[in-house]
């Protein structure tokens, strides 16, 4: 009896030790701050439906625009990177007057503030209000700013989380243009 009890304590503590140490190993192999970022299922898919009356009072339907490039930008007037990237959007819009368009969609913002934002910072491209947040969910937007590049034909080809530059967007545009031209 004495002998049996002696070994049972050892066995139990050895087993507990092994379980606990493998637990520590699991923890040790986890990266700090593994996030859920940029798991966007949209890339390679057809762009979700976006249509409505823009701030300029004109009807806009993304399907009519996909003969060229479309840059869909979700933004908010209170978000600092959005303010900072706005000139870059203006620049990209200027470069692609012929073969592209920017579409801005306020996200987590009021219509009033978004209008003030455009009045103050400029930009003459369509701005659409996402009434039921349908587009935000369809694009899987997490936090502004977020931008999606739609290639001619209507396929989403790239997504950026955070501030973008005109050059960065054009890098992707040229890359895809070259790839299409190659074969």
């Amino acid at each position: 009896m004495k002998h049996r009890s002696l070994s049972s304590v050892r066995i139990v503590s050895a087993a507990a030790g092994i379980v606990l140490l493998s637990f520590v190993l699991v923890l040790a192999t986890r990266d700090a701050g593994t996030g859920t970022l940029s798991k966007n299922p949209l890339i390679g898919e057809l762009v979700p439906e976006v249509q409505g009356v823009s701030f300029q009072g004109e009807w806009f339907d993304i399907d009519d625009a996909t003969s060229g490039w479309v840059l869909v930008n979700f933004f908010a007037s209170w978000c600092v990177p959005c303010v900072q990237e706005h000139p870059e959007l203006m620049e990209w819009n200027r470069r692609h007057r012929a073969d592209g368009v920017v579409v801005s969609i306020p996200f987590g913002d009021t219509e009033q503030d978004a209008r003030t934002f455009f009045a103050k910072n400029g930009g003459d491209w369509p701005v659409l209000i996402d009434d039921e947040s349908e587009w935000a969910v369809a694009f899987g937007v997490l936090r502004p700013p977020e931008s999606f590049l739609v290639a001619p034909g209507g396929t989403v080809v790239a997504k950026w989380q955070g501030q973008i530059t005109a050059d960065e967007v054009d890098r992707v545009v040229t890359e895809l243009d070259e790839r299409n031209a190659a074969p």
Binding site: G108, E132, A136, L142, R143
Partner: protein, 152 residues
């Protein structure tokens, strides 16, 4: 005195049963659409706010999900359809309830398993303690008694 006590217990039992019946009767009829939407929002986590659910979070994405859930419930989509759609858009970890299939189901099963195992061990210990209560004198004890007797 004993009869009085028995009566008191009966009375307590009556009150308890009565209260529980009352509690069941007072319960709301099956969920309305609004309650269904509420329930979905409560069990869906905001993807950018570290574990807060979309009902309570102020983040824009939570507001967006709330609005869409309302919309989809209005359209008559089922809970499963709505959850699956959100999981596709934002990842499986928007659902606060871990899945009930695959590896994820372990989180539901393990506690039950451990609980049953631990209770079984406790019951086993009790029965062993019980059976061990009629202590028989060990050989050593017998020896001691014998030597004492011989001495006297």
């Amino acid at each position: 005195m004993n009869g009085y006590r028995r009566l008191s217990w009966l009375l307590i039992l009556l009150v308890v049963v009565g209260a529980l019946v009352g509690a069941v009767l007072a319960e709301d009829p099956p969920a309305t659409e609004a309650e269904r939407a509420y329930e979905i929002k409560e069990t869906m986590l905001c993807p950018v706010c570290d574990g807060q659910n979309v009902l309570e979070s102020n983040a824009p994405v939570a507001a967006a999900i709330r609005a869409q859930v309302d919309e989809l419930v209005d359209e008559g989509r089922t809970d499963e359809e709505i959850r699956a759609w959100m999981a596709r858009q934002y990842g499986d970890d928007v659902n606060a309830n871990p899945p009930r299939s695959g590896l994820g189901a372990l989180v539901w099963v393990l506690p039950v398993f451990v609980g049953v195992l631990a209770s079984a061990l406790l019951v086993l210990a009790f029965t062993r303690w019980r059976s061990g209560r009629e202590i028989k004198p060990s050989e050593e004890d017998v020896q001691i008694v014998r030597t004492l007797r011989e001495k006297s």
